[in-house]
Amino acid sequence: MIRSELIQKIADENPHLYQRDVERIVNTVFEEVTGAMSRGDRVELRGFGAFSVKKRDSRVGRNPRTGETVQVDEKHVPFFKTGKLLRDRLNGK
């Protein structure tokens, strides 16, 4: 499923909404999640999962091709943990 298919499903279920409003709704939701994480916030969606930000410490890495050592700075990365209900549903429970 891709973004446009998700938009289409929701548009089909809501014939009273304009397609462009459905697009705005779907885009707004994803934008809120990304925006929250870029402020360092968590987004917890019970039953689905939680988006959070994890800190990766700085480390000395190595260029695998040349073997050269490189300093990798500390960084923050997005992280998703599946919710219990969805995890159970994936396993037919």
Binding site: M1, I25, F30, A36, E44, L45, F48, P78, N91
Partner: protein
Amino acid sequence: MSDTTLTRMDLSEAVFREVGLSRNESAQLVESMLGHMSDALVRGEQVKISSFGTFSVRDKSARIGRNPKTGEEVPIQPRRVLTFRPSHLMKDRVAGGNRS
């Protein structure tokens, strides 16, 4: 890092502000989005949202695990797990917004 947690309510509030539907309908739309995404994943489909990320389902085979407290061996059944791979755009925004 701040300890603010957003919930469904914040997402539907954003939809409410952006589109001007009722709060109730906004909440239902957020729910239906999550429902369609979950259903697709349960069917084994990938959910690929451009400039956000990709959710995919992976099959894990059975293995022998260990209770870390007691050291006891326990069989772990084969199972399906969900992984999320953030898009480059999301990674860049999250890294850029949290620079210390």
